[in-house]
C-alpha cells in the first residue's frame, strides 16, 4: 500500500532537521524497540497480523522482528481479522501473551465481536478463571487523505465497553513505555497509534521501561485553562497553548495517555485548579471521548468551574477523501486555540 501526501497537514511533532534525526527516535522506532524488548522478555509473547513478518507491517512497526525471532513468533495471517483476534484470545486463555496488529483501526469493526463480546468479557464472565493478556495494536486517525475507511478515530466504539483498556500515546517516549506496560498487563489492551504521529521524534531511552496504564501526564503546566487531550490532539493542544500564551493565557495540557480506564484524579485536579476546561477530541463530538470527559468534569467540578467545559471535536460526519474537505471535518490547533480563548473569556 503506497501512501502519499502523508505529511500531517496540521502540526504534530514533525521531524526535525538532519542532525536531529540521527539522535532522536521516531514513534515508529520507539514502538519497534518496545516490541523487541518485550519479545526478549516474554517467551510466551508472539506477534500476529497481516503483513507484519517479512514486510514489517504497513507502517514498519514490526520491521526486523521476523529475522530476529522467527516465523513461529512473528506470524503473518490472511485477511481474517476475526480469526486474528480470536487466535489472540484463545492463546491468551492458556497463558500466551499475543500482540496483534490490525492494519488500520477501521478494520477493528471486522473483529468487533471478538473484542467486545469475548476478549473484554473473558475475565469477568468466567469468574476470573481466564485472563486475556493480549494487545491489539492499530493505526488510527485522519489527516492524510485516507478517506472514510482508513482515517477513523475508533476509541468511541469502545468507550462503553467495560473490560477493555485503551492506550493512546501522544509521543515516542510514551509510545514505548505504554506499549511495554500494555504487553506486561494481564488485561486486554487496545493500543492506538495515530498515523500522524508515526514520524514524530524524541529522545527515547533505549532500555526497558514502562509508562503506567491509567495515568495521565501533565504535558504542560498552566494556571488559567486546562486542555484535556490524547494522541494527536496533544501536540495540537501544545501548539494552541503557545498561541494562547501570546495572549497572556496560561494553559495546562493534560495528556490522557490511557483512555479507558482514564485517570479521573489528574483530570479533575487540573480542572478544579483552573476552573476552565477545553476537551479536544479528533472523533465526532456526539458520544465521543469528549462527551465522557466533559460530563465527568462538569459533574465533579461543578463548584469549581467558572465556565462551561468547551468541546473541540471532529464534525459529526464520516471522513471525506478530499483533503480540503477533510481539513474542514477534523479539528486542528486553531480550533483548540479558539476554544481556549472562549473558555478563558467566559
Amino acid at each position: 500500500m503506497t501512501v502519499a501526501a502523508d505529511k500531517p497537514r496540521r502540526t504534530a511533532r514533525t521531524p526535525r532537521k538532519g542532525k536531529d534525526r540521527v539522535r532522536k527516535t521516531s514513534f515508529t522506532q520507539a514502538l519497534n524497540g518496545a516490541l523487541d524488548l518485550a519479545m526478549e522478555k516474554h517467551d510466551e509473547m508472539f506477534l500476529i497480523g497481516e503483513d507484519i513478518a517479512e514486510m514489517g507491517g504497513d507502517f514498519g512497526v514490526t520491521k526486523g522482528l521476523l529475522a530476529k525471532y522467527g516465523a513461529e513468533r512473528v506470524r503473518d495471517t490472511p485477511l481474517s481479522e476475526a480469526a486474528i483476534i480470536g487466535t489472540c484470545a484463545g492463546a491468551a486463555m492458556v497463558g500466551m501473551r499475543p500482540v496483534a496488529e490490525i492494519m488500520f483501526a477501521d478494520f477493528i469493526a471486522e473483529c468487533y465481536d471478538q473484542v467486545v463480546n469475548n476478549v473484554a468479557k473473558l475475565h469477568y464472565m468466567f469468574d476470573g478463571q481466564f485472563t486475556a493478556p493480549l494487545v491489539i495494536r492499530t493505526a488510527c486517525g485522519g489527516g492524510f487523505g485516507g478517506g472514510p475507511h482508513h482515517s477513523q478515530s475508533i476509541e468511541g466504539w469502545f468507550l462503553n465497553v467495560p473490560g477493555i483498556v485503551i492506550a493512546a500515546p501522544s509521543n515516542p517516549v510514551d509510545a514505548k513505555g505504554l506499549l511495554l506496560a500494555s504487553i506486561d498487563s494481564d488485561d486486554p489492551v487496545l493500543f492506538l497509534e495515530h498515523k500522524a504521529l508515526y514520524r514524530s521524534r524524541a529522545e527515547v531511552p533505549p532500555e526497558y521501561y514502562t509508562t503506567p496504564l491509567g495515568k495521565a501526564s501533565i504535558a504542560r503546566e498552566g494556571r488559567d485553562v486546562t486542555v484535556v487531550a490524547a494522541m494527536r490532539m496533544v501536540p495540537m493542544a501544545l501548539e494552541a497553548a503557545e498561541t494562547a500564551a501570546a495572549d497572556g493565557i496560561s494553559v495546562e495540557v493534560v495528556d490522557l495517555r490511557t483512555i479507558r480506564p482514564y485517570d479521573a484524579t489528574t483530570v479533575l485536579a487540573s480542572a478544579s485548579k483552573t476552573g476552565r476546561v477545553v476537551v479536544a477530541n479528533e472523533a465526532p463530538r456526539i458520544g465521543g471521548l469528549g462527551a465522557e470527559l466533559s460530563a465527568r468534569i462538569s459533574e465533579e467540578c461543578f463548584a469549581q468551574l467558572r465556565g462551561p467545559v468547551v468541546r473541540v471535536d471532529g464534525l459529526d460526519t464520516p471522513i471525506p477523501f478530499s483533503v480540503p474537505l477533510e481539513n474542514i471535518v477534523l479539528p486542528d490547533s486553531d480550533n483548540i486555540a479558539v476554544a481556549i480563548k472562549a473558555a478563558a473569556q467566559y
Binding site: F46, A82, G86, A89, G90, M93, G95, M125, V165, G214
Partner: protein, 325 residues
C-alpha cells in the same frame, strides 16, 4: 469396543439425559433463570466427545452441552454438581453463577466455556490450538458447533487458518438438522456440512451421531490423528434434538416419532448391550443410579447460596477495581 467401555458410555449417556431432564423439570418450575437448551437426543455424540477429551485438552461447549460439561467435571474434577449449581446461578457454580448455562467454564477440566454468541469460539479455538502447537504439547482444542452455527463467517476464517497452520483443532459439528426453526438443507448450500470442510483440505468424516459405538470410534480416531500432529479434523455428527422451539414442536410428526422412538441413542445402546448379555436389571440400575446422582446435584444447587454481592463488580479488569454503586 469392549463391553465395559460400552457400559461406561451407557452410564455417561444416562448421566446426560438425567441431567437434562432434571434441569428441564426445574426450569419449568421457575427455579432456573434465563434460557434453556438441552442436549436430549444427542447423548451419544456428547458422551463420545467427552470420553476422548482429557483435562489437558480444551473444548468449547455450545448451548446444548451441559452434558459434556457435567461429564468433564464429573470425570476430571469429581464435582459435576458445580455445573448444576452454575445453571442455578449459585455461588458454588463453576463460575460462581456469573456465567450460567451459556457461559459455564472450568479450564481445570478442559472446559473453555461456551460463548452465547454462537460460533465466535470457532475463532478463539485457533489460539488455544496454536499455543499447544507452539509449546509442543499434544493437546487437542475442540470447537463444538451446531449445523446452524456453520452459517457464521468465522467458520471460514477458522477452517482456513487451522488448515494453513496445521493446528490441532477438532471441529465437532453436531448436525441435528435445524437451527432453531431453520432446516439445515435450507440454511446451507449443502445439508452435508463435511462438504464445506473438503475445500480446505481438512480431514473429515461424517458419522451417525446416535450410534455410540460409531461416534466413539470416530472421535477416538480423529483425536489420535490430531495428537500425532496431523492437523485439524472435521467430524460431522448426524443427529437430532428432542427439544423443539419454545412455541413447542414444529417438526413433522413422522420425523419426531422416528427419532424419538427408533433412533433414541440410549435405547440403541441398551439394545447393543442386551445383545452382549446385559440384563434389564443391570441397565435399569445404571439409569436409577444416575438419576439419583443428578437429584443430589440438583439439591446441592438449590441448597447453595447466591453469589457474594462483591462478585458483581469483581474481575472486570485484572489490574483495576470497578466501583460499586
Amino acid at each position: 469396543m469392549d463391553t465395559s467401555t460400552l457400559k461406561g458410555l451407557y452410564r455417561d449417556m444416562w448421566l446426560i439425559r438425567a441431567f437434562e431432564q432434571g434441569l428441564e423439570r426445574e426450569f419449568e418450575q421457575g427455579n432456573v433463570p434465563g434460557m434453556l437448551h438441552t442436549g436430549l437426543g444427542q447423548e451419544a455424540t456428547q458422551a463420545a466427545l467427552a470420553a476422548h477429551l482429557e483435562a489437558t485438552d480444551a473444548f468449547f461447549p455450545d448451548h446444548r452441552c451441559h452434558g459434556i460439561n457435567a461429564l468433564a467435571q464429573h470425570r476430571h474434577g469429581g464435582n459435576g454438581e458445580r455445573i448444576m449449581a452454575e445453571l442455578f446461578g449459585r455461588a458454588t457454580g463453576v463460575c460462581s453463577g456469573k456465567g450460567g448455562s451459556l457461559h459455564s467454564a472450568d479450564p481445570t477440566v478442559g472446559n473453555f466455556g461456551d460463548n452465547a454468541v454462537e460460533g465466535s469460539y470457532m475463532a478463539t479455538v485457533l489460539g488455544v490450538a496454536l499455543a499447544a502447537k507452539m509449546r509442543g504439547e499434544p493437546n487437542v482444542a475442540c470447537a463444538i458447533i451446531g449445523d446452524g452455527t456453520v452459517g457464521r463467517g468465522e467458520f471460514h476464517e477458522s477452517l482456513n487458518m487451522a488448515a494453513i497452520w496445521d493446528l490441532p483443532v477438532l471441529y465437532a459439528c453436531v448436525n441435528n438438522g435445524y437451527a432453531i426453526s431453520m432446516p439445515v438443507g435450507e440454511g446451507h448450500a449443502t445439508a452435508d456440512i463435511v462438504e464445506l470442510a473438503k475445500g480446505y483440505g481438512i480431514a473429515n468424516q461424517q458419522v451417525d451421531g446416535n450410534d455410540i459405538v460409531e461416534a466413539w470410534t470416530a472421535v477416538g480416531d480423529a483425536v489420535g490423528r490430531i495428537r500425532s500432529g496431523e492437523g485439524p479434523y472435521f467430524l460431522e455428527f448426524k443427529t437430532w434434538r428432542w427439544q423443539g422451539i419454545f412455541a413447542g414442536e414444529f417438526r413433522p410428526e413422522a420425523e419426531v416419532k422416528y427419532w424419538r422412538e427408533e433412533r433414541d441413542p440410549i435405547m440403541l445402546a441398551a439394545e447393543a448391550l442386551a445383545k452382549r448379555g446385559a440384563t434389564p436389571a443391570e441397565l435399569d440400575a445404571i439409569e436409577a443410579e444416575t438419576r439419583d446422582l443428578i437429584e443430589e446435584w440438583i439439591s446441592f444447587a438449590k441448597d447453595s447460596p447466591a453469589p457474594d454481592p462483591a462478585k458483581a463488580t469483581a474481575d472486570v479488569y485484572a489490574g483495576w477495581e470497578v466501583a460499586a454503586r
